[in-house]
Amino acid sequence: MNEAVAERTGAGGGLSRTAVTVAAVVLALFVADRLAGWLPWVGVYPGSWELPVSDWVSGVMEWLLQDAAIGGIGFRSVVRSLATLLSVPLEAGTLVLAKGFELPFGGGMTLPALSWLGVAAALVLFGARVGGRRLATLLFFTVAYLAFFGQWQSAMTTIASILVAVPVGLVLGLLLGLAAYRHPAFERVLRPVLDLMQTVPIFAYLVPVLVLFGFGPVAAVVATVIYAMPPMARVTIVALRGVSEEILEFARMSGCTRRQLTWRVLVPAARQGLMVGVNQVIMLSLNMVIIASMIGAGGLGYDVLRALRRLQIGDGLEAGVAITLIAIATERLGRALTDGTRSRARLPRRHFGLLLAAVVALPTIAGVFWSPLAGVPDALTVSTAEYWGRLVAWVNTELYGPLNGAKSVLLVYVLIPFKRALVALPWTGVVAALAVLSHRLGGWRLAAGVTALALFIAVTGNWEKAMITVYLCGISVAIAALIGIPLGIWSAASDRVHRVTTTVVDTLQTLPSFVYLIPVVMLFQVGDFSAMVAIVLYALAPAVRYTDHGIRGVPAETIEAARMCGCTRGQIRWRVQLPLALPEIMLGLNQTIMMALSMLVITALVGTRDLGQEVYIALTRADIGAGLVAGLCVAFIAMIADRLIGAWVARRRAALGLA
């Protein structure tokens, strides 16, 4: 009896703590709102107070380009030689795979590019060897699609740039990770930089890359590397830490030198973990394909971008599907390679290599004499673009009523009121509310950090745009959570559903973010609503995955105990599983927010008015300062959300004894 009373007061204590926090937040907003009536600056950040941070950034960039020098060698020439260095393998790859190679001597002699048939056959054979019939089938359909839908040439250009970007990203990430593993001081510097690199939207650093390297494939590769490398560095640190102390001791006891210890023991022993990073780098590089084409990547990405700009839905869709197929096939190929459960191959590795070389070489040589082997003959290619065009036309005429109706209802009754309310909030109130909240969750240090990040947004004059960002992101995340969390609960309850959702979620996550825009624009034209739909689709995956994982992670013993107490299934779900899984679900939500923000910037292409648009405009004007500052603002919104949720999860986990 006493215990029951104590239990209730305990719960009451927790509730009142939450209530106090909520009351304080509301109070902060209310007071600021009243005050704004007398003092306008409380409500709206005065333009005259803005600091010209973007001009300063541009100035620094200017200085870097014009005057900066390291040991007498100008920064500019360093950049230029780096560009040359990268351009050599890049061009070689493009020539071999896509264009053919004109010999410098002997008039008009050309070495042909590799035959499409040869490359295709070799890929299928390779797939069969490492991943059995299933992978071979997937690769067969992929190469068949690329060839017969007329995507071959573009695909090879894209693959050539991926073949340069991925190894560079891997090596760079590995070296940075190694350095951080060795020197904790370096890690303390590296970590926040990586955090920033991963939260600043891609568009924001396209601008400096563009200015430094000029428009073209090299700049695209550089941007891709910057985007895809951070996870590798992170994964490397974790993987190396995971190598057991004993193995390192063994290496020292065997008399390894430092170098032997690193390259023969440490790195190979961490290889399982490192492979996660390899996979990430490949996925992110492919994800970057379309965006990179904005600064001159060419290939499939450019095809999508051009189609999207001209609203040629069919062409965009076909190229988008091609990128998606490449991404999925590469991911599965990578997984098969690292699984270790390689099917016992009959041919020894060296013979298989020779076989592949022959399969590629013979059609290539034959192609010199019989052109259909050199390039995919036009007669064989098909295109569905026309049908898609007709479908869009049909949708626009026949379904306009219901689609537009739904869209309008949501816009008028949800989106627009929410947006107005957020924009109308006094900035001082929001900053104060954030400070209160972060103090309640994580103490003074968190409060100071969060306040500083929020103030940066105000001081640089991006407050209103940031609020629009929060509105679009908030609505999308709420909808994604409303769809994703129940899906996750469902999939945790049934193994069959689990299998389906896992496959769907895995596939969704391999799709480049841009691809989501195509069908959305097709159905809903441009605007906030389309942006929202695309963001929801893109950000849905982690909500499902983490919920599922969190509920499945509740110990079987706890469930058994609940059943032995006589809980019904509903009681188990609501009183045992969900409370215990809540921290994990919140982490999923956090991930959803991060993905929503990164998608948000891309939806600037379909006409939103938030920070994403600001970044995009800066990109088109090559305005480094404005782009970086707006990008930083997006990153800071992400960081505020991340730190707040992280603090809440840590608190909750400690309370549940899960820490």
């Binding site: 193995i247 065997s254 032997q260 023991v265 022993a269």
Partner: protein
């Protein structure tokens, strides 16, 4: 009676340490320096330091199996790492034969480890990316030995530990016992003089553990290495050891033969371990025999070094006393009869202390 040289007798000293300390904590070295080499508990506590090893002195003789036994946290793992300099001792001296190990520069230490030391680890520490052959050949590979030679040598070692046929397996495809056999083969590949085994069987199931202990005894009969073996299992210690060092809270409490540990424990702590050890397991014939030859002519003979447990059936079945011969000198050194054996088996006999 603590005298470290007690039984190991005539064999030369291989590895010796004197006054070895390992202290963890901030500015440990400075505090030690100021306290002049003998910090007491109060000083360490005041500076928030922990002494994992306190003032350890040992002589390990060539060819003996020297076991360091202690419960978790007693500092035994730190001590063995100090002896191999995987951990840098804070104070004291360490000599391998006549060489000052603590003064050896990194390069010389690497050479010593490459050629004179081998180590087996509790969790095997196999390289997951290499097959059995690749693991065993690894220490030779990093010395730059050619493929044929190192793989030949590795195959010999694999055969020695009874794993032939498993050369191409990955560690993950082996059982725990098999993995540790690989660990043993690998540590022997360079033919080390000094063989460290850090709780090598602790991660194994009891039955396998016993099998591996027999395997170790078998190998040692063939190889005659100088073995430094760490364990937290007292039964394992007395089963394998020529001599045992018992550690408690960083200090060596007693160094002795298993027999003497059981018969005359240095303090209550040691006695707590020995209490449940049946005397017959450790007591040898020579410590309970009568020192005169009173056995009837034609009586059977047994060795003076044999354990009572092993000879009891013969003595009890024999009806008369048996003659005891020292296998070293070949001389008859005494007589043993039913009474002495029964006294040991009953737990009432305790040698001639």
């Amino acid at each position: 009676m603590h005298a470290d040289t007690s039984e190991a007798g005539d064999a030369p000293v291989k590895l010796a340490c004197r006054g070895l300390w390992k202290v963890f904590g901030e500015h440990a070295d400075r505090v030690l320096e100021r306290s002049g080499g003998a910090p007491d508990a109060a000083i360490l506590a005041r500076h928030g330091l922990t002494a994992a090893v306190r003032d350890a002195s040992l002589d390990v003789h060539t060819g003996e199996v020297f076991v360091i036994m202690g419960l978790s946290g007693s500092g035994k793992s730190t001590l063995v790492r100090c002896l191999s300099r995987l951990v840098e001792p804070s104070l004291g001296t360490l000599t391998l034969e006549d060489r000052d190990l603590l003064a050896a520069p990194e390069r010389e230490l690497t050479e010593i480890r490459r050629h004179q030391m081998g180590m087996v680890f509790q969790h095997f520490a196999l390289l997951p990316h290499r097959d059995v052959l690749g693991n065993v050949a690894f220490p030779l590979e990093i010395q730059g030995i050619g493929r044929d030679e190192r793989e030949g040598r590795a195959r010999e070692m694999i055969e020695l530990v009874g794993l032939d046929g498993y050369e191409a397996r990955r560690p993950a495809a082996l059982s725990g016992g098999q993995q540790q056999r690989v660990g043993i083969a690998r540590s022997l590949a360079v033919d080390p003089e000094l063989w460290f085994l850090d709780e090598p069987f602790s991660a194994l199931d009891p039955l396998i553990r016993r099998e591996m202990q027999d395997e170790l005894l078998r190998l040692q009969r063939v190889l005659h290495k100088t073995v430094i073996f760490i364990t937290h299992d007292f039964d394992e210690a007395i089963r394998l050891a020529d001599r045992v060092a018992i550690m408690k809270a960083g200090e060596i409490v007693q160094v002795d033969t298993p027999e003497r540990l059981v018969l005359s424990p240095a303090d209550d702590y040691v006695a707590e371990f020995t209490r449940h050890v049946p005397a017959a397991k450790v007591v040898s014939v020579s410590s309970v025999m009568r020192h005169e030859d009173t056995a009837p002519a034609g009586a059977a003979e047994i060795g003076a070094e044999e354990r009572i447990e092993a000879v009891a059936p013969r003595v009890l079945a024999a009806g008369t006393s048996l003659r005891v011969r020292d296998p070293g000198s070949g001389r008859v050194v005494g007589t043993i009869g039913r009474d002495e054996v029964i006294a040991v088996l009953a737990g009432t006999g305790g040698g001639h202390e």
